[in-house]
């Protein structure tokens, strides 16, 4: 298993080393987001909203972790369909779990590399210290990483089932989750029905927890328990969904056609 996971990691390492555009993409959008949201936060802090930089810039950096993890898994499957390599992978003795482990590890790197850059830039440009979240930072990051994996595995299942016609989901699904995750505002501002949706997302508990820490209320144990409990559920559900989709595409004969579309 280790050899095959290393083989898959080698493939993604070659891919990033070869593609300047792909490497730039790791940094370009997060930095652009940081500039826009950061300066907006500075402005808001000056006119009326204390701690706007801490709330918004912190949220932006943490959100990017979830987004990058989801993208790493889903894009890996989508790209292998684009370049007609998916069949080569499925006729190699690579188990779906190995593919998911390898792409999840890629997700960690895709989240960590821009994450470090954004943290440094936020410090330089806005005097914002992400590390000021202290002991809460590690569980927050871990929780977003796990949810990013879960969403990525779910989306990869959809891509496997619907092929290139479902490509929009690669980019779209995180943005469906974003408003309900209360990334940039407290969950209390959402209408009642949306609040119900928000509370079943682990990301909501992380961002609520982050705001509580910034407000000096400290890390709430219940927040972390809720986030990790929900993550366990979504990881299991995502994996079962992927396995179900794989079974369906093999029954329907779509897997053979995927790489040949």
């Amino acid at each position: 298993m280790a050899s095959r996971v290393l083989g898959l990691l080698l493939r993604y390492a070659y891919l990033y080393r070869r593609s300047l555009a792909r490497s730039m993409e790791l940094f370009f959008w997060p930095v652009m987001d940081l500039l826009v949201w950061g300066f907006l936060s500075v402005y808001l802090e000056r006119v009326a909203a204390p701690r706007a930089v801490s709330y918004l810039v912190g949220a932006l950096i943490l959100w990017d972790v979830l987004y990058r993890c989801q993208q790493a898994i889903t894009l890996a499957v989508t790209e292998d369909i684009w370049v007609k390599n998916i069949i080569n992978l499925f006729v190699a003795p690579v188990r779906p779990a190995e593919l998911m482990v390898a792409t999840s590890i890629v997700g960690v790197f895709k989240a960590a590399i821009p994450g470090v850059l954004l943290t440094v830039l936020a410090l330089v440009l806005y005097d914002y210290h992400l590390l000021a979240l202290g002991g809460a930072l590690a569980p927050f990051l871990a929780s977003l990483l796990l949810f990013g994996w879960a969403v990525g595995i779910f989306t990869a299942g959809l891509i496997l089932r619907f092929g290139q016609s479902a490509e929009a989901l690669v980019w779209g699904i995180p943005f469906v989750l974003q408003p309900f995750s209360a990334v940039f505002y407290p969950v209390a501002v959402l209408p009642g029905w949306a609040r119900t949706v928000a509370l079943v997302l682990p990301s909501t508990h992380v961002f609520e927890g982050m705001r509580a820490v910034v407000a000096g209320e400290g890390l709430r144990g219940a927040t972390l328990i809720a986030a990790f409990g929900l993550n366990a559920f979504y990881l299991l559900a995502g994996s079962l969904f992927f396995a179900w989709m794989l079974r369906r595409v093999r029954e329907k004969g779509y897997l053979g056609k995927l790489g040949m579309e």
């Binding site: 898959l8 493939r11 370049v83 390599n85 069949i87 080569n88 053979g256 040949m260």
Partner: protein
């Protein structure tokens, strides 16, 4: 017949109302090159997909090395390989990088000597540093075949591997396959629409029409039974009539 490496029994695949493979049974002994032939939609590619476990059968069973492909898929995949004119390798990786990655996926511990030897065999040693997207279709086909031989497969499934190749390169590919079969006893299941190629390469052919076996045997046997001079004429008859003998002859 020697102990079969591939055994297919009552294999059936239905997609809704369409039956792609219909109660197909055949066996392939070790070291044989079997041509899986028939017009478009005959069920060749679906049969290959069933043999690789890419598709699950509606009924029947495919066994490779005595192992049920559905239940022991990963054990089978470790010992077989596949190449097709219709799939590719990541275009932004070099030939070496692609082969290195797949060597790892097949568990090769020291991939470099194997990759270099195969690249030499298929005449692409000087292309390994080139990005795959910059290769011609002939060069890409040979790179795909290198990938297919990486794990020293005992069974090779090839789906129209010489489609879109010029005759010279197609000939090189055929000769290489023949040599591999002779030297290493590789069993090859081969689909092609090029009947001259099939006559030259295949020990045995199996014609399908609408998912069912229409004829099987050596190319010469099949031509004699169909009373045709060439395998291409046999193919045309089966494509038009769905059977080996002319319907008017059968009625007569």
């Amino acid at each position: 017949m020697a102990q079969p490496v591939i055994e297919v029994t009552g294999l059936t695949k239905r997609f809704g109302a369409t039956t792609a493979v219909d109660d197909l049974s055949f066996a392939v002994p070790r070291g044989e090159i079997l041509g899986l032939l028939g017009p478009n939609g005959a069920g060749k590619t679906t049969t290959l997909q069933l043999l690789l476990g890419l598709t699950t059968p509606t009924a029947g069973q495919a066994r490779v090395f005595g192992l049920d492909v559905q239940r022991r898929r990963y054990d089978v995949l470790q010992r077989v390989n596949f190449s097709s004119a219709y799939i590719s390798l990541p275009t932004n990786l070099t030939g070496w990088e692609n082969l290195h990655v797949f060597a790892r996926l097949y568990g090769l511990r020291r991939p470099r000597p194997r990759v270099l030897a195969l690249a030499e065999t298929f005449g692409i040693a000087d292309l390994l540093d080139r990005v795959t997207g910059a290769l011609s279709s002939g060069q890409l086909t040979r790179l795909n075949l290198c990938k297919a031989f990486l794990n020293d497969p005992e069974v090779l499934f090839l789906d129209e591997p010489t489609a879109s190749l010029d005759p010279d390169i197609a000939d090189v590919v055929r000769e290489t396959l023949r040599a591999q079969q002779r030297q290493r006893g590789v069993t090859i299941v081969y689909t092609s629409h090029n009947m001259r190629e099939v006559e030259r390469l295949c020990d045995r052919v199996l014609f399908l029409s609408r998912g069912r076996e229409v004829a099987s045997g050596t190319p010469r046997d099949v031509m004699e039974r169909a009373r045709q001079q060439t395998l291409e004429d046999v193919f045309i008859r089966i494509a038009r009539d769905g059977r080996l003998t002319d319907s008017r002859e059968a009625e007569g």
